[in-house]
């Protein structure tokens, strides 16, 4: 839909009765729920059946691109042997929603007999990167002391003891932190939480006050982009942002948002990728191997006898980032943490403690 069409839609909706809006909302909520499941079935069940039919060996294959996104994040899709859906030999787990999914689709990706499927998830990567690049003391303190960041920030935002923070308050604080990273507005929060826009704005301002380093960082990034016309990450990656000179305010704001987001997302992705390279180096000579990376996680398969050793190695490499230290000379102001799950499939892992 064009901007013009969106504006027409807005004014038409504005003139509808409350009952009409309610009926439309009820319809679209349920319609999107219905479509969500239809799409999951088609992408993952039907898609995997087609892929298995093409490969004939019980496996599916992915295709990774290191130049597939402007931020330098990895993109992934099912590999193809011919053009079109029927030529697929894989599906992309990058598009599988992470939250609110009551059907554990990943469960059908398994380790061979006698092997474990190990999933290593980097904890709150983007916010840790934000704390580092913004040199935000309260956030660094929270990460260093190991308290739950979102309860802590909810405490600061809603001005109460982190112990007394409700589940909803924690969730809202979490959403606000991501709005900051991704450049959302008070309206985004209001719509999501169904609260008045003014209240959403108060919450966001209160959150920003709790972490003053973040606002300072945002100002610095803006100045940098205005001066150099690009944003740069701690790894030296650049994203050109010529739109920062646009005569249109909205376009300039979007360029800034993209730049800010880039400095965080791209660095978070590169930290994980460095970790993955370090892990691969360390696994040389072992049977265990990295089989996938999906967003902030690394997936491995290891013979059961190797699992413990593999988890030790991987945890050490990812938490102490040897590869990144040695090759990029980056020392982070926050500790990195990982969640390790071990099971027989991508979906059935349980928390694993050494």
């Amino acid at each position: 839909m064009s901007n013009e069409e969106v504006n027409i839609a807005k004014s038409v909706l504005h003139n509808m009765s409350d009952d009409q809006v309610k009926a439309a909302k009820a319809f679209f909520d349920r319609f999107s729920e219905y479509k969500k499941y239809v799409k999951l079935k088609s992408t993952y069940i039907d898609g995997t059946r087609i892929a298995l039919g093409n490969t004939g060996n019980g496996k599916i294959y992915s295709s990774y691109r290191i130049d597939g996104t402007v931020t330098g994040r990895i993109s992934n899709s099912g590999a193809n042997i011919e053009r079109g859906r029927n030529g697929k030999i894989g599906v992309s787990f990058h598009t599988l929603p992470r939250e609110n999914l009551d059907v554990n689709i990943r469960d059908y990706v398994v380790a061979p007999k006698g092997h474990d499927f190990i999933t290593i998830d980097m904890k709150a990567m983007e916010l840790r990167v934000l704390a580092h690049v913004a040199n935000e003391r309260n956030m660094i303190k929270a990460f260093s002391s190991g308290v739950d960041l979102h309860s802590y920030s909810a405490g600061l935002t809603f001005k109460k003891d982190p112990k007394d923070v409700t589940k909803l308050e924690r969730q809202i604080a979490k959403e606000v932190s991501f709005l900051t990273v991704y450049g959302g507005t008070a309206f985004t929060l209001a719509a999501k939480r169904n609260i008045p826009e003014q209240r959403a704005e108060e919450i966001i301002n209160s959150w920003l006050k709790a972490f003053p380093g973040v606002s300072r960082y945002m100002d610095n990034v803006q100045e940098y982009i205005e001066q150099f016309k690009y944003a740069k990450t701690i790894f030296g990656r650049r994203r050109n942002l010529p739109n920062i000179d646009s005569p249109f305010k909205g376009v300039r704001r979007e360029a800034f948002r993209q730049g800010l987001n880039f400095t965080i997302q791209s660095a978070a992705s590169d930290i994980l990728l460095c970790g993955m390279l370090g892990v691969i180096e360390k696994l040389k000579g072992m049977e265990a191997k990295v089989v996938a990376t999906v967003h902030d996680s690394i997936e491995l398969i290891a013979p059961k006898a190797e699992t413990r050793r593999v988890v030790e190695l991987v945890k050490d490499e990812l938490e102490n980032y040897h590869y990144m230290r040695e090759n990029f000379n980056i020392e982070l102001k926050v500790p990195l943490g990982v969640d390790v799950e071990v099971g027989t499939s991508f979906g059935n892992g349980v928390e694993y403690h050494l």
Partner: protein, 175 residues
């Protein structure tokens, strides 16, 4: 089709001196590009990023692409059944909320236009007419090339969002 002196392209039809010259130019060009790109990488201080991250990653991903992921086909079928069940329940909830009987096909463009925009076009008629007392009566904001109200995913997701925004800004609550 590329021809050399009127002959169909085939390496064996190409005189050796042509091949030598062509390949030499190819190599020379590649070397020039290599030095130019290398210089650009260094100018932007991206040499290290390339050597220590990008280049080793291509090898790492090559290995992962080659390895593939093993699938448990029984589990796949079981998950398919679970999803069918969710689809059925979600469809029931949708039909109940919007008061749609089983005659309505949720995958038919014609029926979606009736439900969302309260419009229909009878066979052989050119224009859409309003269906009284049926559907949401939304204005069709976006049209297909043929002029029909668009019901593609992108449009419906956007319209759904706009409806949600309007609902929020009015401060409406579900009863």
């Amino acid at each position: 089709m590329l021809t050399v002196e009127g002959k169909k392209f085939d390496w064996k039809n190409i005189p050796l001196n042509f091949c030598v010259e062509g390949n030499a130019k190819d190599t020379y060009g590649t070397a020039r590009v290599y030095h130019k790109l290398l210089q650009e990488l260094e100018e932007r201080k991206l040499g290290k990023l390339y050597d220590k991250l990008i280049a080793p990653l291509t090898m790492a991903f090559r290995d992962m692409e080659y390895e593939g992921l093993l699938i448990d086909e029984d589990k796949l079928e079981e998950l398919g059944i679970q999803l069918d069940d969710r689809i059925e329940k979600a469809e029931r909830a949708l039909r109940d909320a919007a008061d749609l009987d089983d005659e309505i096909n949720l995958n038919s463009t014609k029926d979606l236009i009736r439900i969302i925009f309260s419009l229909e076009k009878k066979d052989k008629e050119k224009e859409y007419t309003v269906v009284e007392d049926f559907g949401l009566g939304l204005y069709p904001f976006h049209f297909t090339k043929k002029g029909a109200p668009s019901t593609n995913e992108e449009t419906l997701v956007k319209v759904g969002q706009l409806v949600g925004d309007e609902y929020t800004s009015r401060g409406l609550k579900d009863e």
